[in-house]
């Protein structure tokens, strides 16, 4: 698809215990979201990018292309936050005037926007770290150990699996349509897309029937229990590194907050 899932299986940090990776990613993300200054978030962003691209070995070019997707949304949000509409010119660093109103950027709005930008990008980088280094089956396996309800885990498993089945199907249908000139102009393209979606839906219903039959044939009664893989414990050095990094951030947020920015 977009290669995201391939890196999850082939990166160097796959062997690291998923439990530790998940706790690290979530804890760091929480710290990032709770921090009231931009500096800790920026530290998180840089460290997570470093861990994912340099340590885990996800190609930098591909990483940044993936990362540009959330950053695009975050930038739009940050720009909107930084702008304010007033009638007086005090505190405006930059403005344009429309009638008697001024649309501009205040000092407060700017720092708020920077904080938002840093926090969101930092949190996104934590998620990317987890998604690019840990395959979904490792995550569901861990969630099961944490006693997350089976229903949620099963839904995750099935949805993830069938994304690929339907993606393949959609690609096949699209190619078949294109080969019969189904996408020559906008109008036919729209119509073909409609056909694609409807046939995909019918296909989904059909597949759910045959999947159910196949599961029942293997003795499915109420839950999709499978044997979980065993994972190696994380090397002590990395574990200690995780803990120290988060403690350092916690300290930074609590004690140095007022001094920085």
């Amino acid at each position: 698809m977009i290669g995201l899932e391939n890196y999850a299986y082939s990166n160097r940090w796959r062997i690291i215990n998923p439990c530790d990776k998940m706790i690290f990613a979530f804890a760091t993300m929480l710290l990032c979201l709770f921090s009231t200054q931009a500096i800790p978030s920026l530290i998180i962003l840089l460290s997570m990018v470093f861990l994912t691209t340099v340590q885990a070995g996800v190609p930098r070019q591909h990483y940044f292309r993936l990362f540009s997707v959330p950053v695009g949304f975050i930038l739009i949000g940050a720009i909107t936050v930084s702008l304010s509409v007033t009638t007086n010119l005090i505190n405006l660093l930059w403005f344009i005037s429309i009638g008697s109103y001024y649309i501009g950027i205040t000092q407060g709005g700017l720092s708020q926007a920077i904080l938002l930008l840093a926090r969101s990008a930092g949190a996104a980088s934590c998620l990317f770290f987890l998604a690019l280094t840990t395959p979904l089956d490792d995550i569901t396996c861990q969630l099961e150990r944490w006693k997350v309800p089976y229903l949620i885990i099963e839904m995750m498993t099935l949805i993830y699996r069938f994304i690929f089945v339907f993606w393949e199907q959609a690609t096949t249908i699209h190619i078949a349509q294109a080969s019969r000139l189904g996408h020559v102009d906008l109008k036919t393209s729209l119509r073909s897309a409609g056909y694609l979606v409807s046939s995909l839906f019918i296909n989904a219903v059909d597949r759910s029937h045959s999947l159910y039959n196949a599961l029942v044939a293997r003795g499915y009664s109420d839950s999709l229990r499978v044997l979980e893989d065993e994972h190696q414990p994380t090397p002590v050095l990395i574990k200690v590194g995780f803990i120290c990094f988060d403690l350092f951030l916690l300290g930074l947020i609590i004690f140095r907050g007022s001094v920085l920015l």
């Binding site: 089956d137 498993t157 699996r161 045959s210 039959n213 196949a214 044939a217 499978v226 044997l227």
Partner: protein, 310 residues
């Protein structure tokens, strides 16, 4: 006495259908008064055109569909559609579906194979053992850590088979197991099935590959529009020209060649028809080819013509 004859003479079928009829909720009649007996340790082919009711039949053998009339017997005992009886039935009878994508639900190969044995409530170590063994038999140990969506079609097929083998069923139903596989993979697949057969499994497969059905199985059932149109040893089925024509089946090439050779008087018409390539070729070694063979060779050989011209 062939394998098929031996099986027929023993009288304790592992699975039997008695007058089974079934029509789908939309009114399409799928099965009509099916009579069938499956002997333990046999290789059985279910032949018939698309839509003849093969897949519906298979869903009955595993208790997923319940016959509207007639009954299914497991080891002579009537199948009851209760939770406990169905677990016994599904432990003994496993189905490998045609499309592996509709069978593999997990992202992880190992986990998917473990699903069946987990449902049979084995201990984790036992499950692990069974998964390992199933992966060894199907030769997919190297796929262990791979996500299912990255596998090729043939690999997915093997994983699907392993998922059934891990439950250690006595009867394995294979719904068109060789469809859309390349010839090389078909051969590998057949070696795998032969191995399972040698381990004492009962194999039931539906197929459109007449050569394969003819040379491999002990017994054939021909389905036509939901009824059993014919049954018998592959030899009986495939020599009956009218039967083949009525059910849109083709004559296997081995038989076709054999009959041509008999018609031309090269092979004695009373000799037993060959079941496979090797047997046919053995006949050819002793065939009474006319001497013309040699003279044709010398006449047409371009080198000889060239020499003559000079």
């Amino acid at each position: 006495m062939s394998q098929a004859d031996q099986n027929l003479s023993s009288s304790n079928p592992i699975l039997a259908l008695e007058n089974v009829s079934y029509s789908y909720p939309n009114g399409v009649a799928a099965l009509h008064k099916i009579q069938m007996e499956i002997q333990p340790g046999s290789k059985i082919a279910i032949l018939g055109a698309n839509g003849a009711g093969k897949s519906t039949l298979f869903l009955h053998l595993n208790g997923i569909l319940q016959p509207q009339s007639g009954r299914v017997l497991l080891d002579g005992q009537r199948v009851e559609y209760t939770h406990s009886f169905l677990s016994v039935l599904r432990k003994k009878v496993g189905i490998v579906f045609q499309d592996p994508d509709s069978q593999l639900f997990s992202v992880n190969v190992f986990q998917d194979i473990s699903f069946g044995p987990m449902n049979l409530k084995y201990s984790p170590t036992e499950v692990k053992d069974r998964v390992e063994r199933a992966m060894e038999i199907t030769k997919i140990c190297d796929l262990r850590g791979r996500p299912t969506h990255q596998l090729s079609y043939g690999q997915k097929k093997r994983v699907a088979i392993a998922g059934i083998l891990a439950m250690d069923p006595e009867v394995i139903i294979l719904d068109e197991p060789t469809a859309s596989l390349d010839p090389c993979l078909v051969e590998e697949m057949m070696l795998l099935f032969e191995e399972l057969y040698k381990r004492g499994k009962t194999l039931i497969m539906s197929t459109h590959d007449m050569d394969l059905a003819y040379s491999w199985v002990d017994y054939c059932y021909v389905l036509n529009q939901g009824s059993v149109a014919a049954q018998g040893s592959p030899y009986d089925i495939f020599r009956d020209q009218t039967l083949l024509k009525e059910n849109n089946l083709q004559i296997p090439w081995v038989l076709k060649v054999f009959e041509q050779l008999v018609a031309k008087g090269l092979i004695d018409g009373n000799s037993r028809p060959p079941y496979n390539e090797e047997q046919l070729f053995a006949y050819l070694d002793n065939a009474a080819f006319p001497v013309a063979k040699q003279s044709i060779k010398t006449e047409v050989n371009p080198w000889n013509l060239y020499r003559k011209a000079r």
